[in-house]
Symmetry: none
Amino acid sequence: MESVRRVAENTRTKLLQAGFEEIYVRGFQAASVSNILKRTSLTRGAFFHHFPDKQTLGYAVLDEVIEEMIRVQWVVPLSTSTDPLSTIAEEFEKGVQYLAAQPVNLGCPLNNLAQEMSALDQGFHERTSRIFELWVETYASALEGGKIAGVVRADVPASATGLFLVAQIEGVLSLAKTTRDASVLRSGSTTLKTFLESLRCE
Amino acid sequence: MESVRRVAENTRTKLLQAGFEEIYVRGFQAASVSNILKRTSLTRGAFFHHFPDKQTLGYAVLDEVIEEMIRVQWVVPLSTSTDPLSTIAEEFEKGVQYLAAQPVNLGCPLNNLAQEMSALDQGFHERTSRIFELWVETYASALEGGKIAGVVRADVPASATGLFLVAQIEGVLSLAKTTRDASVLRSGSTTLKTFLESLRCE
Amino acid sequence: MESVRRVAENTRTKLLQAGFEEIYVRGFQAASVSNILKRTSLTRGAFFHHFPDKQTLGYAVLDEVIEEMIRVQWVVPLSTSTDPLSTIAEEFEKGVQYLAAQPVNLGCPLNNLAQEMSALDQGFHERTSRIFELWVETYASALEGGKIAGVVRADVPASATGLFLVAQIEGVLSLAKTTRDASVLRSGSTTLKTFLESLRCE
Amino acid sequence: MESVRRVAENTRTKLLQAGFEEIYVRGFQAASVSNILKRTSLTRGAFFHHFPDKQTLGYAVLDEVIEEMIRVQWVVPLSTSTDPLSTIAEEFEKGVQYLAAQPVNLGCPLNNLAQEMSALDQGFHERTSRIFELWVETYASALEGGKIAGVVRADVPASATGLFLVAQIEGVLSLAKTTRDASVLRSGSTTLKTFLESLRCE
DNA sequence: ACTAGCGGGACGCCCCGTTCCT
DNA sequence: AGGAACGGGGCGTCCCGCTAGT
């Protein structure tokens, strides 16, 4: 019984992962269920057993895969950090390293989906909005925490700066994806670091 | 002869404009030729007379419509401006006003196309890259001009700052499109203005 | 499970049969998938589930329908016949009767396809060639058998005569189709019979 | 005035010739007006000035090009021949040589059109029938002439034999086109000669 | 007589997401 | 969970006619 559950879970996870990859590469609308199945060794029956339709898979990818990525990259590290300015710079640098190592720069999965779908579909809008807000909020809290810890200057507007930082990161990733130019990533990383240091106490 | 030419040009322009709108709303891959035709009063024969396929229309939209938008919004104003910092802030503010007035915020047409297609198609990659570089270069030149005119601080790295500004603008527009929240636009506008003022002499 | 298989087989068979008819009437290039579907009660999905494209259907029609017709009309009767000359005449007569009874004489399905497609497409060339060779070979073997049985004159060149007979049959059917004149069929049948009798011992 | 007429005639002739070629290669239904124009250096205007539509061109190709071929190859030589049996064999041999020398064996233009169109279109049926009848009649008359001249055996049924010969020729050309095998042509030529000799007096 | 270009529709093939039945 | 069937478009192509000019 338990093993059956596990197999089913496993199948669902495979679909979720393959769905994420297909959507990441092609975009949601152009993603095809057939291609997702080719990425696994599963059949259509399996797909529609776990998800009533493609849209629901897209929502699940956001809820379970992409949100988790944001949590792993930003929420968790910042929740335990005593120096949010350095942590943000380091985590961004890690992301830059990862993207620069890829054969093709596909940009930010969250932003890709958000740009494509948020104006077309309420469910995508709500989910991508929520995740972006989680991200901005994480930055804002970390900056507030940094003020209390005496790391961040007291006159920094936490909320607006969180927004500014997320916008800057997404903007740089967008430009780097478009130009396929690694130097854009490096320049963005440097400028971001400079900006972050300008927020530091003394 | 001339009148025929003019009528034909007109038809082509209609297709280009309708194509731009359809692509702006749905994205390039989901844009359908039938829908483009519905937006005009033309038929398939007219479309495929002027464009051999949908891809070529997409390229023409970039080359003739979207690049022109960047020129009108940034290249032209900055070429005659004596204070690039104010001009950038004002032009961005104009764009923000425009987007906030729309029933749906569809974001930046250039960035939408770039994010969707640059990893999938060489022609889109080249064109969107080129236009972004034009944009960044325009900012960089304007900043250099500002230094000579004594408006911009001499220690401002023109090229990196141009990139930073474009990234910031695209990042803010992306977030605003995703969240459908006009306050994101306002906050982004304010923060951008603050940042621009930090580059001013004295 | 078995019933599913049977239903699927059934659908495929329906498509094959309807495809044969449509191709028989219009020719392969002018045959339309929509018309094939109208001849069944199936939809496009069913078609493209069983055949990746129209060409593959055409090949299958040759391999499974038309070759079978040649086997039924010529290979099987001649394999059990002790008098090939009479059997050929009788089977041809049967074919003539069938064609004369049709509202429109559409000629020989094999020859139609062969004439239309063999110069344009390798796959059609190979298949129609193979089936014609099977046909000629069947005649040649039967004539050789007839020699051994003492029915056919020993000086008859089996292979060349097989070719001659098939050519004659196809030629007569072609002329009859063109002229829509049943008397051509009758005349051809009579002449063929005379020719066959001229091959008989004594 | 006359020169204008001649130019016009010339254009029409070019279209007729290019139309013949295109139809010969692709078949009538698959022949495209655009391709015909590519084969000339003419434009659509010229085409539709001379022919109201593709069908009319097809009819003209039959009436003016293909019928002429039959006249040149069979009617004329046999009208002046004193030995129809040899003339038929020789003319067939010439045709065989011509076809064997082509890069692709496209068969008999008349038979191709007849097989494709005679069941679908009354005009094609009438024209191809008429030309075939002309051909058969030419043979029949020549055989009758041969009887009077003492070359052909008196017991040869002229009409049925004319039909038989045309059928045999078309059948051999069909098989040769299908198999792309020059030995079929040679074998057919030999067998035809043998058959023709069997009709000779003494 | 003919050019040149434009536009109108209809339709072809193919593919997609989805449903239904086992 | 498997896989056959469904029906709706998608893009591209074709044939044809029109207008204006030479």
